[in-house]
Amino acid sequence: MSTSVGLVFFIGAIGLCVIGIAGIVLSRHLFRMVLALAIAEAGANLLLILAGYRWDAVAPIFTGTAGGQAMVDPVPQAMVLTAIVIGVGVQALALSLVIRIKERYGTLDMQEARQCMQDDLDDAGGVTPSRSRERPAGERPIPAPTVLNSTGGQHD
């Protein structure tokens, strides 16, 4: 019984990690990426806590009554304690960056925002569509020069 319960816990923790990382990589919405980061963090914290879990053990605090009872491992708990607060700080920083991107470019879609940033960079560097072969008229995948091969430019 104990192994099957442990299996459920571990699957849950690993699943949270994987869902979070998949969300970070696959999603294009910036706010969802921040949420996915929070989910992945929760999974990692849960995994650490599970690594120190012990059956029939109490929290690692000496109380007056329970004298010699076994305690769970205090070291992972101490790590997770600080990791949670730091996670909050990192999420706040990420959200402030997202707010700035939304104010500057008016979009939360990552690809649109990246295109806008690229345009800004090109403008700052003085790269205009007429002067650069890399950037014909703002189209990022270079369109095929002739009409014969119009399916090019799908790869990104």
């Binding site: 442990g6 994987v18 990382i21 879990y53 059956w55 000496f62 205090p74 600080t82 949670i84 700080g89």
Partner: protein
């Protein structure tokens, strides 16, 4: 193509984590360090909460590093969002409704007491500077939601934060002056389980709590004010 690569990567990650956790005996961790700490913490540090003994007694330097990370995140957030006074937007939002204002007035002192309790009893009960600091930040965030036009002074928050950080480092340097390692708990250990016990650990946790509370509330305040300006 990108999705396929992502799926492959995630499959590899699942395999790796499952292989690592598969070797762990669930419910019976080896606890090589944990066992030794549990036996040594009571006579050496004198804190009833072993997690606190680990966080402040045995790896206080790591805690200082984590405070530095939090400080860097808060500073960078402030840098990205800019100063509140710079945009002159303090009357952008009207005050909230009666229920929220009255609820804030009732909850603010209670949250303050709960946060300080959690901070000060960090070496005896579950809790400590980090958790209590977050409760304090929540207490100071509530008036911001109810009355957006009145805000706390950023300067005072910075002063509290700086003093708390200085106190943490000063307590660590005091141990150096005594000839011990950096951040070794100072003072007498006192009665085990009493409020005033385990040397300088409550003072260190008080500094951590004030620092975390001030940092998070100034970060929340910047986010809230910036939101009011953008809408």
């Amino acid at each position: 193509m990108r999705n396929l690569a992502t799926l492959l990567f995630l499959g590899g990650l699942v395999f790796l984590l499952a292989a690592i956790t598969g070797t762990l005996p669930f419910g019976h961790p080896p606890m090589l360090v944990g066992q030794a700490i549990q036996q040594a913490a009571k006579p050496e540090v004198g804190a009833a909460n072993v997690v606190t003994a680990v966080v402040l007694g045995y790896r206080g330097l790591d805690t200082l590093g984590e405070l530095a990370i939090l400080f860097a995140a808060a500073t960078a957030g402030g840098l990205v969002l800019g100063g509140v006074q710079a945009k002159g937007r303090n009357n952008a939002l009207p005050a909230a409704g009666f229920v929220q204002r009255a609820g804030t007035d009732v909850l603010f002192p209670l949250l303050l007491i709960a946060g300080l309790y959690v901070v000060i009893h960090g070496h005896l009960t579950p809790g400590g500077g980090f958790q209590g600091g977050v409760i304090l930040a929540a207490a100071f965030f509530l008036p911001l939601l109810a009355r957006p036009s009145e805000s706390l002074s950023h300067i005072w928050l910075s002063v509290i934060e700086g003093l708390a950080g200085t106190a943490f480092i000063a307590l660590g340097l005091g141990a150096l002056y005594n000839g011990d390692a950096f951040l070794t708990p100072l003072f007498d250990k006192g009665m085990f389980g009493e409020l005033v016990s385990s040397g300088s650990l409550p003072l260190l946790y008080l500094a951590v709590g004030l620092k975390v509370g001030a940092e998070l509330s100034s970060l929340l305040m910047r986010l809230a004010h910036d939101d009011g300006a953008a809408s």
